[in-house]
């Protein structure tokens, strides 16, 4: 007997420190149905599902199960109600066996000999859904797909009628994806309901019955997959017909500043995430790399700026080979960098603002004589950055962690472009900033372009890419699906390219 026949979320609001993540979201899912939750990164999908799983409490709104309102105060509540969730990053103990991991979260685990008693249930379960699992193997010996199965079994054994899967295919091989979908179809046939969070259109179309599209925290569309197509879903996800209101004046293309020649880069998990990529960026140009997060853009940026090793291929800045050189050498060669995780890479939070104002420049002659730092010069420089880049702070003698995110970003921007580097690599420079700071930063990037700088911009914000960039490359799984001029009409299908469903040769 299924506990949940119908689940509704009505008018859900949730904000974090004043930043809305979910606004007036309605969502319905019924027994025997697979619902896709589609949206760009940061659209609020995971927040919404975390509310359903009891991790967050909504500021406003109701959750109804079988038309009855319920309170989900903790994951335990949700599990009792029959809701299970498999997170994008698995919550398994690597050194324990499959059985031990399952027993750990299982409410009916007996106190004595838990493994023996649970073993039968797991085996029976595996048979029922027709998949193989070796119960005594340790988690670290399993592939990502097998680990995911363990998570799913865990949820289902706990009586989950509604299973939430957060980006389930992002770590799987194509064969594993097929197996997963087979499994989901069998679940569906047995009356379970599934919600899949994804931004991959092909998968949504293949496995889901209905799709709810979220954009910037709001539902922008609901559709049956049988009556819609990828193109219209892509447009819903992006949120608008792509606009071409260019505010930047055309500039003649300058000399080659950055040349990336056939590079391959390996990611944290040991797999190649950037495949033989090559491109050039010219002076007076902003070159944008658009794509959904996790398609190799972070690794590409890190490889070019010297933080990550390049496996093959070469990178040149103004003709100087910077392949696998130290970040300091690369900086001196003319490359400045606004890192993606600005708090993680861009600053030393416990040091003073003026210390952070010279993070990559402290070795320059103007800031140090022999062994000693010239603090009077450094403080002057810090003051001019604070003024010139409108960092709002009452003093430069404060610890940098006391600045707001936007002000830290302005400080980093100022630090990186005040020396007028020939090339600026900017990763998501406006992510998380308010409207004013965003406009300001974009203006500064355009100014730098006008002055003859070359800018390599990584962004998930398509509006930003369209507005700022002279050329746009769409990255998917470590390869460019297209490199297009900003006026190219084919950009209307950028959503499809980002989802890997369309490649354009140029």
């Amino acid at each position: 007997m299924r506990k949940i026949k119908r689940l509704e979320m009505q008018g859900i609001f949730k904000s974090f420190q004043g930043v809305p993540a979910n606004q007036d979201i309605n969502l319905t899912v019924e027994a025997g149905e697979i619902l896709g939750l589609l949206g760009e990164n940061g659209a609020g999908k995971t927040t919404l599902m975390s509310i359903l799983y009891g991790l967050f409490q909504p500021d406003k709104g109701k959750i109804l199960i079988n038309h009855r309102p319920v309170t989900l105060g903790s994951p335990l509540d949700s599990i009792h109600q029959g809701i299970g969730m498999v997170h994008q990053h698995f919550m398994l103990i690597q050194n324990h066996s499959v059985l031990e991991n399952i027993a750990l979260g299982y409410k009916k685990t007996p106190f004595f000999f838990p493994k023996i008693r649970i073993r039968d249930q797991v085996v029976a379960f595996a048979e029922r859904f027709n998949f193989s699992i070796e119960p005594t193997k340790k988690i670290w010996q399993l592939s990502a797909g097998e680990q995911q199965r363990v998570e799913i079994i865990k949820a289902l054994l706990n009586g989950a009628d509604l299973l939430i899967l957060d980006e389930p295919t992002s770590v799987l091989t194509p064969q594993e994806i097929e197996d997963l979908f087979e499994f989901l179809k069998r679940m569906k046939a047995q009356g379970h309901m599934v919600i899949i969070i994804s931004h991959k259109l092909d998968e949504i179309m293949e496995i889901c019955d209905r799709v709810t599209v979220i954009q910037k925290g709001r539902v922008v569309g609901v559709a049956d997959t049988s009556t819609t197509d990828k193109r219209s879903l892509a447009r819903m996800m992006i949120g608008r017909e792509v606009l071409f209101n260019v505010e930047r004046e055309p500039l003649p293309r300058g000399d080659t500043v950055l040349r990336v020649d056939d590079i391959s880069v390996v990611g944290d998990k040991g797999t190649t995430v950037v495949h033989n990529m090559g491109f050039e960026v010219f002076a007076n140009e902003i070159f944008g790399v658009a794509g959904v997060a996790g398609n190799g853009q972070r690794e590409l940026a890190e490889a070019i700026t010297g933080i990550r090793k390049i496996q093959s291929g070469r990178v040149y800045v103004k003709g100087v080979d910077i392949t696998n050189m130290s970040p300091r050498y690369i900086y001196d060669a003319g490359l400045a960098h606004i890192p993606e995780e600005r708090i993680r890479f861009g600053i030393a939070p416990g040091l003073f603002l003026y210390d952070n104002a010279i993070l990559k420049q402290h070795h320059l002659d103007k800031f140090s004589k022999l062994l000693f730092l010239e603090y009077s010069q450094i403080k002057d420089h810090a003051r001019s950055l604070v003024e010139g880049y409108r960092v709002s702070t009452h003093s430069i003698d404060i610890q940098t962690k006391n600045l707001s995110g936007g002000n830290i970003q302005k400080l980093i921007l100022g630090r990186e472009i005040s020396e007028k580097p020939p090339l600026l690599v900017a990763s998501h420079p406006t992510y998380g900033l308010d409207v004013g700071a965003t406009e300001y930063l974009r203006e500064e990037l355009l100014t730098r372009r006008r002055e003859g700088g070359a800018i390599l911009l990584f962004s998930e914000d398509l509006e930003e890419v369209m507005k700022l960039c002279d050329r746009i490359a769409v990255i998917f799984e470590g390869e460019f699906m297209a490199v297009l001029d900003s006026g190219d009409p084919r950009l209307a299908d950028i959503g499809l390219m980002m989802a890997g469903s369309l490649a354009v040769s140029c």
Partner: protein
């Protein structure tokens, strides 16, 4: 039911930092008092005895200064290592290596060289001995990712056994009548003391100068800047192109070298020969960890915290004698204070809110 929520404290002030330390020490003293109660000793009497024993009498005070010397030098050196997030637990071994190196120089050349030459040579040898020993875990860490806590800790035992080996074996003195220990250094190779005390003032002076120089290095030089950046945020250090290998090696050479200097002071200033490792050091290398921590990783503050912990060592000896408590009491006191300081640091960095009800 209640829930505890831990969140980052966004703003921190110097005053709060100071008050946290005071409160941590206060909490520590309360906990120590409990230990005394369990031992059947009046806690107020015992604690007051500790401080009277160390700061309350002329004799006690002189002893406190004597013991503060190694604590200040080593603690100062450790502030640099800890600032670079290099958890050097091996100062004890680095001290012993400094002692071995300086004893060797003192025994070999002491009789042939004037005092003004041999003493600086011994300090130099001690610095190099401790520094080289400190380089081993640094290389292991940067080149082979071997955890420095384990390697520095283990290297301590090697040093202790090496000292024991030397004093019962090849270096055993002819004047010792078969007892372990090297011959005494010639008088010209020993350090003068303030009359009526064991305070080897040359080492004390060196300690004060060294932490002063280290302060300048940490806060005014490029190298110190790089150390601070790495310690605050290693990822930012990588992003800024700071050479971790070079920085770690220099940090550990200085940190180990300063511990080595302390070893020179103990041999040339107190014992005048190499003896059992436990006699040379009595755990200075470990106590100095707390000294560095209490100093908030500021080398100059290590002077104050070094004196404080020297006082506890001396006061601990005093209560051992007068109250008949076991020798381990001092270590318990030190341990409790360290735990309290670390907990205090946690409360300083994080905000704790407790919510009642489900």
């Amino acid at each position: 039911m209640f829930r505890i929520k831990v969140s980052d404290r966004e703003t921190t002030t110097e005053l709060r930092s100071f008050l946290t330390n005071v409160a941590s020490l206060g909490a520590g003293l309360c906990a120590i008092g409990l230990v005394f109660v369990v031992c059947g000793v009046n806690p107020f009497f015992a604690i007051s005895k500790i401080f009277l024993g160390s700061f309350g009498s002329m004799y006690g005070f002189k002893e406190t200064v004597t013991k503060a010397i190694p604590l200040i030098i080593i603690g100062g050196g450790l502030t640099l290592a800890f600032r670079a997030r290099f958890w050097n637990i091996g100062a004890e071994g680095q001290l012993l290596m400094g002692a071995i190196a300086s004893t060797w120089v003192g025994l070999a050349w002491g009789p042939h060289l004037p005092s003004a030459v041999i003493i600086p040579l011994m300090f130099l040898a001690g610095f190099i001995g401790g520094g080289l020993w400190g380089l081993i875990p640094a290389i292991l860490k940067v080149r082979f990712s071997i955890n420095e806590v384990i390697s520095t800790l283990m290297l301590n035992y090697i040093c202790a056994e090496l000292v024991t080996l030397l004093i019962v074996g090849p270096w055993k003195g002819k004047t010792r009548f078969g007892f372990p220990g090297t011959d005494n250094l010639v008088d010209t190779a020993t350090l003068g003391v303030i009359p009526g005390s064991r305070i080897h003032y040359l080492t004390l002076l060196l300690a004060l100068v060294a932490v002063g120089i280290l302060w300048v290095v940490v806060f005014k030089t490029r190298f110190g800047y790089e150390v601070r950046v790495i310690g605050e945020n290693p990822d930012a250090g990588r992003y800024a192109g700071i050479n971790f290998f070079k920085t770690s090696l220099i940090v550990m050479a200085i940190s180990g070298g300063m511990a080595g200097l302390a070893g020179v002071g103990e041999v040339a200033g107190i014992h005048h020969h190499l003896t059992y490792p436990a006699a040379i050091s009595s755990g200075y290398g470990f106590t100095a960890i707390i000294v560095a921590w209490l100093a908030k990783l500021n080398p100059v503050y290590a002077i104050v915290s070094g004196f404080f912990f020297a006082g506890i060592l001396v006061g601990g000896d005093a209560i051992q004698i007068s109250l008949g408590l076991p020798a381990a009491t001092v270590q318990i006191v030190n341990g409790i204070l360290l735990v309290c300081l670390i907990m205090g640091d946690f409360f300083f960095k994080n905000k704790i809110t407790i919510k009642w009800g489900r």
